[in-house]
């Protein structure tokens, strides 16, 4: 909000330069966002609302009072009321009715005649300009000027345009319309409060005046409006019609109804000065007068909350400077009477804030908290999350953050349907219409982008998926890894990422994991279209599926223009960390040498390595400690497609050195078991 430096100085009579004044206000009241030269004046942009002070400081008098309090100046700002007297005019000139006193807490209408509409004097135009307002004519300018001065929005109607000499403050009816001052036609509803004459709405209350009742060159008789409306109602109507005005902004912040009176007197005074005319009638409807609030303030509480000792006299002085009436109550506190204009002050903490800020936060010395030392309980989930991050970093993956937003096109690109997606009511663009249900899509895209300028990319993230499930929005933490490398076969990439997954699970202390290539669970259902149907496996711990690993479906890869084969890993992080086990037990290293034998087999293509290994392991018994595939190739001939596979078999005992013959016996058992499966053993 823009303020004139000269105007403030005129009111508060301080000596500070614009820059120093800005500093003073910023440190004690509200942020001065900028100071700019404006002709012979300076314009201060003050964010009074950021300190919740728009009720009392949306006008120069309010800010001037604040300066007086901060600087402890001996200056009194005169109200207009003491200088101007209104003779009680003809009541029949104007009838005002308020439909609901909750909607309108006060309505003052002053009728003046004999005004002459013309250009404003220069000083008035300059003030308005400094404060960022355009000059219209002397009457409108006068109303705006008084608003800038007092903070109270005011409006002037052309009396002769009012049907039936009536003003009704009421809800709009259905199918009512209003043409606003700036020529917009608004379709009204009972959600809007209007000022109406005997027939039609003539203004959107507290927001904008109507075109037909506005001041024109011909205007001779006017109604000055100074009113007070329900802040929530003004705010909702302002949003409904998307009309934010200087008036609506102020009313939203809950103005003091007592301010309307002060402002109306001041406006009468100014209108007479710039446009002539006399008051011929006045109505003031004020059903429930707002009286000062009385709040108890305990000195001990104030000192506790601020954290330093404050002499009683100091506290009293600070509050008095701010216009509070302070009376001692017992030994330990006061009753503080809050000026009605301070609508923001309603609790003892609010008063403590007044003391603290006026005293100055910089004068409050730092103090270490006095509290029992209690150890912070670790958050297991987050510890595992960071462990996983460290693991992937060590494995050469880079952590990428992506947006949680997605749109129709992206969902289509990944051949998904938008069902179950969480939809936004107010997206900023079509790309932010939904929340991601499969954040893996984001990482596929990021991978594709990266492979446009690099040959190899490894990305990972711990992120979230959102989905409507069972009438609730489920927010799932997911671990995602993406790997693509140009010039590598899909199976190489797959097996490398699989190795990473195996290492990860081992590193987290999970031992009984396996890769199921015939899955049937939520991962299969949810991500099946994303993955190549013959190049994916479900990751299981025991019977529980925790994730999936697989190559991206070639059709999708083509759509997103992936420049290499790419494999993805996707693990339900919630399941993972619950299965993770940090306690490892040491297993003694055998003192006895191992015997290593090899076995080479020729098996039909499609036979799974896992199955072959199982046959070997089962027949080999406990002394067979490790089966390690070291050779694998596929042979194609006309008749049969065969695979040649070879394993290192490691036999070892923890109790003794194995004898050659013992191993021979075991090897024979294994060979027999293999032959039983009709697999040829190569000698």
């Amino acid at each position: 909000m823009k303020f004139s430096y000269n105007w403030l100085k005129e009111l508060a009579k301080f000596k500070e330069s614009p820059k120093n004044l800005a500093e003073l206000l910023t440190m004690h009241a509200f942020e001065v966002e900028s100071v700019a030269k404006a002709g012979n004046d300076f314009c201060l942009d003050i964010a009074v609302q950021k300190s919740n002070r728009a009720a009392d400081c949306a006008g120069h008098i309010g800010v001037a009072q604040e300066i007086i309090a901060i600087k402890n100046l001996k200056v009194k700002i005169q109200n207009a009321k003491s200088q101007i007297k209104i003779k009680n005019g003809d009541k029949k000139l104007l009838t005002v009715t308020i439909e609901n006193k909750d909607d309108c807490r006060r309505y003052i209408g002053v009728v003046m005649n004999g005004v002459v509409v013309k250009e404003s004097p220069q000083w008035l135009r300059e003030r308005l300009e400094t404060c960022g307002m355009q000059s219209i004519n002397n009457l409108v300018d006068a109303a705006n000027y008084v608003m800038l001065e007092t903070g109270q929005p005011l409006h002037i109607f052309d009396y002769d345009a009012l049907e039936g000499r009536r003003i009704a403050v009421r809800r709009a009816r259905k199918n009512e319309f209003l043409k606003t001052l700036d020529n917009q036609k608004l379709e009204l509803s009972p959600d809007a409060l209007v000022i109406a004459d005997a027939k039609n709405p003539i203004a959107l209350a507290g927001i904008k005046g109507g075109f037909d009742s506005g001041v024109s060159k011909k205007t001779k008789t006017i109604v000055l409006e100074a009113a007070n409306f329900d802040p929530a109602l003004i705010r909702s109507a302002s949003r409904l019609f998307n009309l934010k005005t200087d008036a609506s902004f102020r009313f939203e912040h809950n103005l003091d109804p007592n301010l309307a009176e002060v402002a109306s007197m001041r406006l009468v005074e100014l209108v007479r000065q710039v446009a002539g005319g006399e008051v011929i009638g006045m109505t003031d409807i004020y059903p429930q007068k707002i009286l000062p609030q009385k709040i108890f303030l305990s000195r001990a509480y104030a000192e506790n909350l601020i954290g330093c000792e404050l002499p009683a006299r100091r506290i009293e002085d600070l509050l008095k400077r701010l216009g509070f009436i302070v009376t001692q109550k017992k030994k330990d506190g006061w009753i503080a009477e809050v000026p009605t204009i301070r609508r923001d002050v309603s609790s003892t903490e609010d008063i403590i804030e007044e003391i603290a800020r006026l005293y100055g936060y910089k004068h409050i010395a730092m103090r270490a908290p006095e509290t029992l030392l209690f150890p912070a309980e670790p958050n297991d989930e987050l510890l595992w999350e960071d462990k996983v991050r460290d693991f992937f970093k060590g494995a050469g993956f880079s952590e990428a953050y992506t947006y949680i937003f997605t749109g129709e096109k992206e969902i289509r690109d990944f051949e998904d349907a938008a069902s179950g997606y969480v939809e936004l009511e107010n997206p900023t663009s079509p790309e932010t219409r939904y929340l991601v249900k499969h954040s893996i899509f984001k990482y596929a895209r990021a991978l594709a982008e990266n492979l446009r300028h690099t040959d190899e990319a490894r990305l990972f993230a711990v992120t979230k998926d959102f989905e409507w499930r069972m009438n609730k929005i489920e927010e799932r933490k997911e671990l995602i890894a993406a790997f693509g490398k140009k010039g590598k076969s899909a199976s190489d990439i797959f097996l490398e990422l699989k190795g990473v997954a195996e290492n990860l699970l081992s590193a987290l202390g999970v031992s009984d994991f396996w890769f199921d290539d015939a899955p049937n669970s939520r991962f299969q259902i949810q991500d099946s279209r994303f993955y190549h149907p013959y190049r994916r496996a479900e990751i299981k711990i025991g019977d529980d599926a925790i994730g999936i690993i697989g190559e991206i479906h070639p059709a999708i890869a083509q759509t997103i223009k992936l420049k290499s084969r790419a494999v993805f890993l996707h693990i339900d992080f919630g399941k993972l960390w619950h299965k993770a086990e940090s306690e490892h037990e040491y297993r003694p290293i055998s003192k006895y040498p191992a015997a290593v034998r090899d076995i080479a087999l020729l098996v039909p293509r499609g036979e799974k390595i896992e199955k072959i290994q199982n046959v070997i392991e089962t027949s080999g018994g406990d002394l067979l400690q490790d089966v390690d595939l070291f050779d694998y190739f596929e042979e194609f001939d006309k008749e049969k497609e065969k695979m040649s596979v070879a394993f290192h078999l490691r036999f070892q005992s923890n109790e003794r050195t194995l004898l050659e013959k013992e191993v021979d016996v075991l090897m024979k058992k294994i060979t027999e078991a293999v032959k039983e499966k009709q697999w040829a053993v190569r000698e």
């Binding site: 004690h28 009241a29 509200f30 942020e31 950021k50 300190s51 929530a232 705010r235 909702s236 509480y301 506790n304 909350l305 601020i306 903490e349 609010d350 403590i352 804030e353 603290a356 800020r357 409050i364 010395a365 103090r367 270490a368 908290p369 006095e370 509290t371 029992l372 209690f374 912070a376 670790p378 958050n379 987050l382 991050r389 970093k393 050469g396 993956f397 880079s398 952590e399 990428a400 953050y401 992506t402 947006y403 949680i404 937003f405 939809e423 107010n426 900023t428 932010t432 929340l435 984001k442 990482y443 895209r445 990021a446 990266n450 990305l459 990972f460 979230k464 009438n471 929005i473 927010e475």
Partner: protein, 369 residues
């Protein structure tokens, strides 16, 4: 080769003469040796079990005592001398041999190292970890909360009622309710409409609803605002919320904790902070915390817009209405709360000009951290 001759005569002179011949022959041959293996063979020929000297020694056993002593000691001396000579030669040969082998094994160490995959953590993760470590050392616990929130947790319980202008401070992404479900409508009516949390402050409410003071928590996390994006504005960004509640927590305590935190975070022991009045509905008193510009040390630069100060966070003393909303006994507890924008800290720390880089997923960006 000497054996035949030695068997012929057994007197000491001849013996001593033989010894001399052996010595001469050995030294001559040894001098010409250039190969380790050949030298080893030669050593065995002279000094081995069946070597020339051993045979001599065996022959000496048959001499009369006097002669035996004389020639014996001479033969032993020679044996020691030759052994030393051979060992010396062998050591020399080994050394030169190693040297040449090593020389042949030369590699060009100026070639670039082989690129092994190196992983990186996101700069926001790095700074979040830094911040967490500092707060953990001061007894704070990290907690989390959902990103999809209800109006109640995001606003109402934080003393931000509907149709209050304070709501303008948080431009909100609202979520559509699940039309199909009647049940969810009822549920969401209790807690208000669903939205993407606009700040991490709802975590305060969720934590307090399930925990009794005293406690100290921090809650880092993603937050969302409905706004136009540019180099310094994002619809998705990161905050770190803090909350300490106890019997007597004061502004003075807050200043202490937060200055300590900021000094350690920016690794600047003399970093100055200042508090200035501000308003957040869930605190009273409320303030903004500025730090003396870490870029220019208050000399005036573009980062601090020549003010010498950088806005760091919003903070304040927890509003009693917030305590009431979570069911605490009125006036029994006091506390401070604060919220820091992590993105800004990261941007300052690494001199990153555009906030949108954080979500680019671009390895050329990520690999710099």
């Amino acid at each position: 080769m000497f054996a035949g001759r030695l068997r012929v005569r057994y007197n000491d002179e001849i013996m001593l003469d033989e010894l001399k011949k052996i010595e001469q022959s050995a030294r001559e041959k040894l001098a010409n040796m250039g190969d380790i293996d050949a030298t080893e063979v030669l050593k065995i020929q002279f000094l081995g079990r069946k070597g020339a000297l051993s045979l001599m020694l065996r022959a000496i056993k048959n001499l009369p005592e006097q002669e035996r002593i004389k020639t014996g000691s001479a033969a032993n001396r020679l044996r020691q001398e030759l052994e030393a000579a051979f060992d010396k030669k062998l050591a020399e040969l080994k050394k030169t041999n190693h040297e040449s082998v090593l020389q042949r094994e030369w590699i060009d160490v100026t070639r670039p190292g082989v690129k092994t995959p190196r992983g990186h953590l996101h700069p926001l993760t790095l700074v979040r970890r830094d911040a967490e470590a500092i707060f953990h050392s001061m007894g704070f616990v990290t907690v989390e909360g959902p990103e999809v929130e209800s109006e109640r947790y995001n606003f109402d319980a934080l003393n931000i009622p509907a149709n209050h202008p304070a709501r303008d401070m948080w431009d909100t992404f609202w979520l559509r309710s699940n039309q199909k479900s009647q049940k969810s409508k009822v549920k969401s009516q209790n807690d208000g409409r669903l939205l993407l949390r606009t700040h991490t402050s709802p975590v305060q409410i969720r934590y307090m609803e399930t925990h009794e003071p005293p406690f100290r928590i921090i809650a880092p996390g993603r937050v969302f605002r409905y706004e136009a994006t540019d180099a310094s504005h994002e619809i998705q960004f990161y905050q770190l919320e803090g909350l300490m509640v106890d019997r007597h927590v004061s502004i003075a305590n807050f200043k202490f904790v937060i200055q300590e935190f900021l000094r350690r975070l920016f690794r600047k022991q003399n970093l100055e902070i200042r508090l200035r009045p501000s308003y957040f509905p869930f605190v009273e008193p409320g303030f903004e915390v500025d730090v003396a510009c870490i870029v220019c040390n208050q000399k005036g630069c573009s980062v601090c817009k020549r003010s010498g100060w950088l806005e760091m966070m919003g903070a304040g003393m927890v509003h009693q209405k917030v305590f009431a909303a979570v069911g605490y006994v009125p006036a029994e507890w006091t506390g401070f709360a604060f919220g820091i924008g992590l993105d800004r800290v990261v941007m300052m720390k690494y001199n990153i000009p555009d906030i949108r880089l954080f979500h680019s997923g671009d390895l050329r960006f990520l690999k710099q951290f």
